[in-house]
């Protein structure tokens, strides 16, 4: 297990006067889409692979080619290469942001969900001795052999929370629902 650089402090801004809109305020308070928490990589268009590689980002082979997360260009929850960022970054919007923009979730509730996510991340990291990376937490949730049961439970709780509130669709979600409920529709 590698030890990553410490996470920046999770202090949330309380004033929205300096931000263009609520969605922007939410995004710069969060950063979970960029820091490896929600996703382990981002898709690249064929024509931008070398440009992104030249920025010093790690390219992951595949179809499509991808760049690895956590993104090294995320600084204090903001993109340090905003005008040169991968195209997918400009298009991506998580479920929470979508719900905010669609008026389904007020800003205060959205910010609270971000705080809850931070708290669950801290708990999952502490369970692993305070040194767990996002990939380590994800591995624990999926049943890594070296993960203790309590550590795995904390990781699962986190990933389910992210599935429910942040990840956009089944394609990106960590867990397919397998709720023990006689009334629940079963997923084939």
């Amino acid at each position: 297990m590698s030890i990553e650089t410490p996470r920046p402090s999770r202090v949330l801004p309380t004033e929205s006067n300096d931000f263009a809109n609520e969605a922007t305020l939410l995004c710069v308070s969060c950063g979970l889409c960029c820091d490896g928490t929600l996703h382990s990589s981002g898709n690249l268009k064929p024509g931008e692979v070398e440009k992104i590689r030249a920025e010093g980002m790690t390219i992951v082979d595949g179809d499509p080619m991808r760049f690895a997360l956590p993104c090294p260009k995320l600084k204090d929850r903001r993109c340090s290469i905003f005008d040169r960022r991968p195209s997918v970054c400009g298009k991506y919007s998580c479920k929470l942001r979508n719900d905010l923009v669609d008026g389904l979730v007020p800003l205060d509730d959205a910010m609270e969900r971000v705080r809850e996510a931070f708290a669950l991340i801290d708990k999952a990291s502490r369970r692993a001795g305070g040194r767990a990376s996002t990939s380590d937490i994800r591995a624990a949730a999926l049943g890594a052999p070296d993960a203790e049961a309590a550590e795995r439970l904390s990781a699962i709780v986190l990933e389910l929370f992210l599935d429910r509130h942040f990840r956009i669709s089944d394609e990106y979600q960590m867990f397919v629902s397998s709720v023990v409920d006689p009334k629940a529709d079963s997923k084939e």
Partner: protein, 89 residues
């Protein structure tokens, strides 16, 4: 009478429950009434006692409650999350 298995670790997310069977490694998510039933299993309890509470909190007929909660408890037992203590229920 039923009680939670010592093999079942669980945590709550708001009103929802996530449980993990330690030995089997299987994880379960519970919401709504399922989560409520799990919460009621904090101490050993009977199907009768659980339905006494549920029929007071929800608009459900007694026989329907006993049937559906009985099915849920049977699932919990089959999954190893809950143990049956005796044959009194």
């Amino acid at each position: 009478m039923y009680q939670r298995s010592p093999q079942a670790l669980f945590s709550t997310i708001g009103s929802d429950v996530v449980a993990l069977h330690v030995e089997r490694g299987q994880a379960y998510g519970m919401q709504d009434v399922t989560a409520t039933v799990w919460t009621m299993l904090e101490e050993p309890t009977t199907l009768e006692a659980m339905c006494d509470r549920l029929t007071g909190e929800y608009d459900v007929e007694r026989d329907q409650c006993e049937r559906e909660v009985g099915e849920l408890i049977a699932l919990f037992v089959a999954e190893g999350l809950v143990s049956r203590l005796d044959s009194s229920d």
